[in-house]
Symmetry: C3
Subunit: 430 residues, 3 copies
């Protein structure tokens, strides 16, 4: 076929996939404040503050306490031209045009004030949240909830609780984390038994609110193994006594024990356990808020073999931070029944990397074991442009690889795309 | 050129490359039973059993002892729909259509019984083996033979012996391996001298049968170095006494000594030594047969520098399991006269990965140092669809990179493709 | 758009980018002998000698002392056919056609003697250097100067000094290196203070000659950290006494101390510090001259986090040897204000790898933080064909990703390409 046919076909597939009503299986939305309040809330997304900072704007100017939202936007807009090539910026232009009705091809230092006012008026309009979700064709959104989140005051059908467990696994030695766990579970943690009971209490609480997944982000060095109760007991004793001054060995032992205990609970509560593998926190500690984390791409899923073998009934939707790990992810999902690929995470959420990783997944993993995409958004306005990016790549890959190279029909492509975008989310998370 | 011209050109190049009579330089064909006996033999290929299992079919159902071939197919067909997006499945459809004359676009739960009968009748027809090879345009096929294979009862021109050495290098501590070596070499292994003599005996045996290569698959951690005879002697003594309970140090020392001794023999017998680098065995030990192995992509060819430097006269056709190692492979083949790239192995044998790896090879390594492809097949029916996949990718890469981007003629592309597909196999293996 | 439009568009963008007058920000040009003297000087480039050797030509024949340039070419031409698929060879054909006016489509054993004479006559013609630079549209070229280079006898505007520091960091334990440093700085090095003073002397010398960058190539294992003066003092004492027989610990400590001291000087002298990360020297020690180095792709930029955090005012243009490190490079440049991507280095300077790495950069890093390309050339004749290769890939990526997929205008693409090709070089190096 000619490329014009191929690109028309890709557009047509993308268009059909855009009709699907979505469940967004991972976000950081605060359901009590799901939409942006103003343009500063949108431009304040770490993707823009970190790129502005990377382009030369001092952190002190970006994060100066007490500046007005408009002043914040004014400062950020001074360094948006250097980032207007980035796909991150294209999300902003897309959402301004397609959600807010912005009528110019760009956003720049000359026109942003008019945009500021436009966003202000829309955000404060009646039912803006419903408008955004409707325009974005989003039915429900998975959250990322702290273990002590009361999960109250919002529609649990629209905003689906997920239990985020980084604090428990990696920061339990901090006294404030233990106190938070004691407070919400209404118990004292003095030994392994009471620690496990507190964790069970949290699973009960989340289950009562319709939790759909347990989730955690993991550094490249993490390698889960089962720790004996006696070793874990000693480690806990050290930590209860010494907090973050406990020995590294104790902290690592207890991390692993808690992680394994969470997997045990996922097994018992029949919850998928989302693993987000590969991030090093605070590699650039003087960077802007949420713009400090990077990674070491030397990580292997073989580190997770003991876990995958020990919990055959737990589904592990796995995200990897670096594209170099994608082939392992494909191949572990190809072999292990309980491994599922999950979206395109953070530094791998840019078009050339998505296209590369997506091709490798679609051609080798059972179609039922691929969760296409999640937004990872902090404000619901970002769901649409991110999914737009993904859908257009998915449309092109389906047109190129499946129709042009393998002779599939357009309908068969749309069916596969639908399964990856929506069907698998429902089946896997229930 | 327009894409329609480009894709017509790619098809034309592919078509010309499809006329070449092949030598398949690596397979697991059993020459005494080269063709499938029925559809269960085809669907029983680990690519289908492991994907069926990954999609949810219990191993116990797949591998239940005593079930009939037809029952096995019936069970597997219940989970073929979830894998019908995979390229692995496309091989099955291709071979059914193009070897067996299957006349439907798909194979599914509604029509498989008719296919079962069709395959049955073809497989039991007179001269099916010749038919398959002729339709596949395959002249000869390299085997993977155990060191104690008698290499008798088959046509040594059509089925070319290759000495597989994994057992010797990695399992010599198992008493049964030693006993097999003693039995076939008619000798007692009591020290390094007799061990080396037994190995020489095997090379003599294989040479008398027209062996064309020595081959081995290697875990990511393996790093060959020369072990002194005195260290190896001590290690052998430990192993002869203690078998698999010998110390790790002894087992690693003897592994390396045997590996180095094999390379010495390759040098003396002028045999290429195929290295297949990167597999971890039994990462998923409860997976289906041959569906348990995965890998750790953190491997480097620098681990092989001592070997490559020590044996400048031995050609090492190298396959890597993970695509991330392909650039190193390209660059080691670019510099080392004795390194040759060899096919697209296993988890890297899917279209997007082949295309990526192939481009990098064709643009940077001498054309004489690239063995394009091997089937790795267990039944000769799979040679054709796998080579079809490869040839169509090769055709597209030649059309896009060499004609469109570099101005080559179609004839020059076909000449390059021919060299990579066939010419180099002959020159390198003799 | 149809592919014919797309490829016309790509050509048009490439053509416009070809009009830009270049500053080549990294080369190995000897300004006292910038052009080739004859065809042997061109074919003697390590890209051809190493590929000839890799294809079977013995090093002894290539490097036989005393052979005439014509004899050297005659020998090399016997193995150019096996490498005529490589992009490296395409540079040679391009420069012969477009700089020397070679009128045949290929260079082969039948026609090379006529080319030899043609090159001879051009190279010895009046003003050849000016002709080459004018045809190549090159205004100035950065050099790679030893620390004791007098930097005299050439036009400092055209050939811009850069201080190469590998010898200081990695070979200071060799007495001859110390003596060279003592000689050029006219000082005795007896302790840290005098060592630092000698380094300062070199920065003063280079600054007086208009130095634009400090540069170093680094092995995969290198991980910079600040070494205390007391540890460094002890290490220096060991090295002054024992030279290369000093302990590994001493040599590593002093390496790191010198490296950190160089970064301190870059900070003080406001010089970018080019880091070229990932090469292992002499992996193939019996290879041809400059054809012995390879690498271990298992390297991470996290090894450089302490450096990047310690010197926020120093710009680090970073090159990585293996494409697997490109995503980390993209993401470190995305977050760290002082990290800039720098060209496509050596084994990553082939079309499929450039395209892959370039796409990931253009879509995620601020446009102001990408130095598109440098030639790395030893003779100025190679600048044009290498930049031609890069520009045509850049044109295609801009046409495909920015126009076709993101709706940019052609002008906006040319503006982005211009910034990456030229604008950033000026702004970053001053």
């Amino acid at each position: 076929m000619t490329n014009s046919l191929s690109s028309t076909l890709a557009s047509r597939i993308t268009e059909q996939l855009s009709q699907i009503v979505l469940v967004d299986p991972h976000s950081h939305i605060n359901p009590l404040s799901a939409t942006a309040a103003n343009l500063a809330d949108l431009l304040g997304y770490h993707y823009y503050t970190e790129l502005a900072h990377s382009s030369g704007l001092p952190k002190e100017q970006i994060e100066e306490p007490g500046i007005s939202p408009k002043e914040k936007v004014a400062r950020l807009m001074t360094t948006m031209r250097p980032i207007n090539n980035t796909v991150q910026w294209s999300w902003m232009v897309d959402l301004c045009q397609n959600l807010f009705g912005w009528d110019e091809p760009t956003i720049d230092q000359k026109n942003w004030e008019r945009l500021y006012d436009l966003v202000d008026s829309k955000c404060s309009s009646e039912g803006w949240e419903d408008v955004v979700l409707k325009k974005s064709r989003v039915e429900s959104i998975f959250l990322t909830n702290d273990f002590d989140d009361p999960l109250e005051g919002f529609d649990l059908k629209r905003y689906v609780p997920c239990l985020r467990t980084d604090d428990l696994v990696f920061h339990f030695a901090k006294p404030e984390v233990r106190k938070r766990l004691e407070a919400c579970s209404k118990s004292m943690i003095t030994n392994l038994t009471s620690l496990k009971a507190a964790i069970t209490n949290r699973f009960d609480h989340f289950q009562s609110k319709g939790v759909k997944a347990c989730a955690i982000s993991l550094p490249p060095s993490f390698a889960p193994v089962k720790i004996s109760d006696s070793s874990a007991s000693e480690a806990l004793e050290d930590i209860l006594k010494n907090g973050v001054s406990a020995s590294t060995a104790s902290r690592e032992s207890l991390s692993r024990w808690i992680f394994w205990t969470l997997a045990d609970h996922c097994n018992e509560y029949k919850l998928p356990f989302d693993l987000m593998i590969g991030v090093n926190r605070q590699v650039y500690p003087t960077g802007v808020y949420q713009g400090q984390d990077l990674y070491d791409s030397r990580v292997s899923l073989i580190q997770y073999a003991p876990l995958l073998n020990a919990f055959p009934k737990v589904t592990f939707p796995i995200s990897v931070l670096a594209s170099v790990t994608n082939q392992e992810l494909v191949d572990y999902a190809w072999i292990f029944p309980n491994v599922v690929t999950n979206g395109h995470w953070w530094y791998s959420n840019t078009p050339s990397i998505i296209a590369h990783d997506l091709r490798a997944r679609l051609e080798a993993i059972p179609r039922t074991k691929q969760i296409g995409y999640y937004s990872d958004a902090y404000k619901i306005e970002f769901i649409m442009p991110k999914f737009n990016m993904y859908r257009s790549i998915l449309g092109r890959v389906l047109a190129d690889e499946f129709v042009a190279n393998r002779g599939w029909t357009e309908d068969a492509c749309v069916e596969l795309g639908t399964e990856v975008l929506r069907g698998n989310v429902e089946r896997i998370f229930g």
